[in-house]
């Protein structure tokens, strides 16, 4: 069977798209080719979570990779533990799955979906529009292609790039006696607690105060109703909104605040503009932003003259690339590069939204 659909990227975004295409038997494993340099979908994500000692997901019950939102992780945990507590927490928006539970779910889905049968190992350098679809590094052509390349790399403040004390939060590390944590998002907040728990003195280096909200972006922006205004905004306004959504934030709650308050009282936590004389600098500064940092996307844009706005590729509301999508073929983006269509595209829920749109395109194509 010749694959007609290609997924470029073998991370969590790729798995979400794959599982969505496999749902209900729409496509067989032989009809999908997954290109990527990792066999395990969580291979890139897991070391980062381990590096910051992450125990709970920021996402809620819906933060999983299965194609249907039900059963969510809360329902699965309730069933496994024979306990209604996860469901009760979930209806109150208080449920946070544990990282091991999430990884177990990824393993199960990988096994059940036939992921490994569709995997084509190797990093894709080029995707090119050709007659009848798209060529992926000489493979194909594929009628429908979705690019889910993930984050383009870790971001470090330029002045710390050569600093021997500096380590990125998402790289393996221990904690020195005095630690400066640069950044103010979820990873930074996690590192404050980690370093304090390790007995370190912590300096928070940040340009602005973090927002406190449960999810990456405001909850209504995950929904059609909330997205209506975003999609209706003019291009410049939309880019400004996206820049605003990217502000650092972490969830509210005593479990975050109490250890920091205690450390402030003990003189072990303070906010300063620079790391100054600390022994270790942890860059909790997230990822590089924009398609220009991703060689595959940058080449795609350059070779096909794709429409861009600032650091974003301009997409249709269903995450497709308008210039390369028509009734017979689809080029779609999923994950972080799809933010132009869905501000929370880098979340699991956002990946599912893109995946469902892509599935709809594949379903409606008479020659799929």
């Amino acid at each position: 069977m010749t694959p007609r659909v290609a997924i470029v990227g073998s991370g969590l975004g790729g798995l979400v798209v794959y599982a969505t295409l496999r749902h209900g038997g729409l496509l067989a494993p032989g009809e999908i080719a997954v290109f990527g340099d990792h066999r395990h979908p969580a291979a890139a994500w897991r070391p980062r979570a381990e590096a910051i000692r992450q125990r709970l997901m920021r996402s809620e019950s819906d933060g999983h990779c299965s194609p249907t939102s039900f059963p969510g992780l809360a329902a699965r945990e309730a069933l496994r533990r024979r306990d209604l507590a996860p469901l009760v927490l979930s209806v109150c928006d208080r449920y946070r799955p544990t990282v091991p539970d999430f990884l177990r779910h990824v393993d199960e889905l990988r096994e059940r979906s036939g992921w490994d049968e569709s995997l084509v190992p190797g990093r894709v350098e080029r995707v090119r529009a050709v007659d009848g679809g798209f060529e992926v590094d000489g493979h194909g052509p594929f009628r429908h292609v979705v690019l889910a390349p993930g984050h383009p790399g870790l971001a470090r403040p330029p002045h710390l790039e050569r600093d021997p004390r500096a380590v990125h939060a998402y790289e393996p590390h221990e904690y020195a006696a005095s630690v400066a944590v640069v950044g103010a998002g979820m990873a930074a907040a996690t590192e404050w607690l980690n370093a304090l728990a390790a007995g370190a003195e912590v300096v928070s280096v940040r340009r602005r105060e973090p927002a406190r909200r449960p999810l990456n972006v405001a909850r209504h922006l995950f929904t059609k109703r909330g997205l209506a205004a975003f999609h209706a905004a003019p291009r410049a306004g939309r880019a400004a909104l996206l820049r605003g959504f990217g502000e650092p934030s972490f969830p509210p709650g005593r479990s975050w605040d109490a250890p920091v308050e205690q450390a402030v009282r003990e003189g072990r936590f303070r906010v300063e503009p620079e790391p100054n004389g600390v022994a270790q600098v942890i860059c909790a500064t997230g990822f590089k932003r924009g398609f220009g940092h991703d060689a595959l996307l940058a080449r795609l844009v350059a070779e096909h003259g794709l429409d861009t706005e600032g650091r974003w590729i301009v997409l249709a509301d269903d995450s497709t690339v308008p210039a390369l999508t028509d009734g017979t073929r689809t080029l779609s983006l999923a994950g972080v590069p799809a933010q132009w269509a869905f501000p929370a595209a880098d979340t699991l829920v956002g990946m599912k939204v893109a995946a469902r749109h892509f599935r709809r395109r594949v379903e409606s194509c008479p020659t799929r």
């Binding site: 969505t20 749902h23 819906d62 194609p67 249907t68 939102s69 039900f70 059963p71 979930s90 209806v91 109150c92 928006d93 909850r219 209504h220 995950f222 929904t223 059609k224 109703r225 909330g226 599912k352 939204v353 469902r356 749109h357 599935r359 709809r360």
Partner: protein, 393 residues
């Protein structure tokens, strides 16, 4: 979940399909329109709240909010049902509402996300199916309510003042008395689906006579001075609530007599006050539930379930009877629960040993199950005779 307005309406309509079908099946079985009318009301109120309140107030709706929303909708539905005089019995109506609410939750949290992958992303919208639902729903709703209204028995108002009887009701209707409406000479009911409400009946051979009719409801009726039975029911199924019957002293008068209806659905006598007469409430060869009544000053027995009747006598207040308080006789099966029986006097003139102030008597092959009855100043206590049994639980 963050619903769009369209998503809210379509989800509501999708969840209403099953309750509507259940109600459509129940109505002909029960010979009642209230299930359909109630579901129509529930859906209507839900849609109005969706469009007018929820959509404005709730751009995002956490799962727990379904509970207060359900209680609000329940309150409004019950109030509307009362205002529109649906006469839906409370417990079945609550069960129907609860079932519909539960189904809505199951659909919203599990069913629809499974059936339609993008249901959560689309704010609850159902695509083409939703469009069809929205188009069909108003038509279906109007059709159901219209049919229900059209075939609803007509309501006849009985004006204040005295009307000469016997008044014969031989087709389905609701007869509602204005305050002070009196029928002298009795009412005769010979048709199904007749309701008589708020009427006083004076005299007549029987105060109210029901013959060969089902789904008859007598509510808040007063019967006084009938020559024989206050309410006389033959081969019929009735529900009698909140009545007051005062019988003439005499050899053959009975407050309420329900007989020869074993093959029909159970009858109900509830919250009635029966004073005087030979027997207060009596069934022969019938299914019946006799509940929360007050029976006084009877000369033979206060409450009787006999001749292979079957049913429950519960939470009644029996007092000042002569001979026997509660009687379960002639191979009947009676559950006698939570009654208060007081001051049953011996019938000394009869010379009958089984009439010497017996509070509860099981007689002639009858089987009585007793639970939690209170017996006061009744010298005969509880007794069984002629192969009858009494079982205490």
């Amino acid at each position: 979940m963050s619903y769009t307005l369209r998503g809210r309406l379509e989800t509501r309509l999708a969840a209403a399909l099953v309750p509507l079908l259940v109600a459509a099946a129940l109505s002909p079985v029960l010979h009642k329109w209230w299930p359909l009318e109630l579901v129509g009301l529930m859906v209507g109120i839900g849609l109005v709240l969706d469009a007018g309140l929820y959509h404005r107030l709730l751009p995002y709706q956490p799962g727990w909010l379904a509970l207060p929303q359900g209680l609000l909708e329940l309150g409004l539905t019950l109030a509307a049902a009362r205002a529109l005089e649906l006469n839906a019995p409370l417990r079945p109506a609550l069960a129907l509402f609860a079932g519909a609410w539960l189904l809505l939750q199951l659909l919203a949290h599990a069913g629809l996300p499974l059936l339609r992958l993008s249901w959560p992303d689309d704010g609850g919208e159902l695509g083409l199916a939703g469009t069809a639902l929205r188009a069909a729903a108003p038509v279906a709703l109007l059709a159901v309510l219209g049919i229900a209204w059209a075939v609803e028995p007509p309501t006849v108002r009985l004006a204040t003042g005295e009307h000469r009887g016997p008044l014969v009701l031989d087709h389905a209707q609701t007869l509602v008395g204005e305050p002070g409406a009196v029928v002298r000479g009795g009412i005769v009911i010979t048709a199904d689906d007749v309701t008589v409400r708020n009427v006083t009946v004076l005299g007549g051979r029987h105060g109210i006579e029901v013959q060969n009719a089902e789904s008859v409801e007598l509510e808040n009726v007063v019967v006084e001075g009938a020559e024989l039975d206050g309410i006389h029911v033959r081969r019929s199924q009735v529900e009698i609530r909140d009545c007051s019957i005062r019988s003439l002293p005499g050899a053959f008068t009975q407050g309420i007599d329900i007989s020869f209806a074993f093959d029909l659905g159970p009858s109900l006598v509830e919250r009635c006050t029966v004073v005087g007469g030979l027997e207060g409430i009596v069934t022969h060869f019938a299914h019946a539930l006799i509940r929360d009544n007050r029976v006084r000053n009877t000369e033979l027995r206060a409450i009787t379930m006999t001749e292979m009747s079957m049913g429950r006598i519960e939470d009644n207040d029996v007092g000042a009877a002569v001979g026997v308080g509660i009687f379960c006789g002639d191979y009947s099966h009676c559950e006698i629960d939570g009654n208060s029986v007081a001051d049953v006097a011996p019938d000394l003139s009869s010379g009958d040993r089984q009439r010497q102030g017996v509070a509860i008597l099981s007689h002639f092959g009858a089987e009585a199950e007793l639970r939690g009855n209170e017996i006061v100043r009744s010298p005969g206590g509880i007794a069984a005779s002629w192969d009858a049994t009494i079982e205490h639980e």
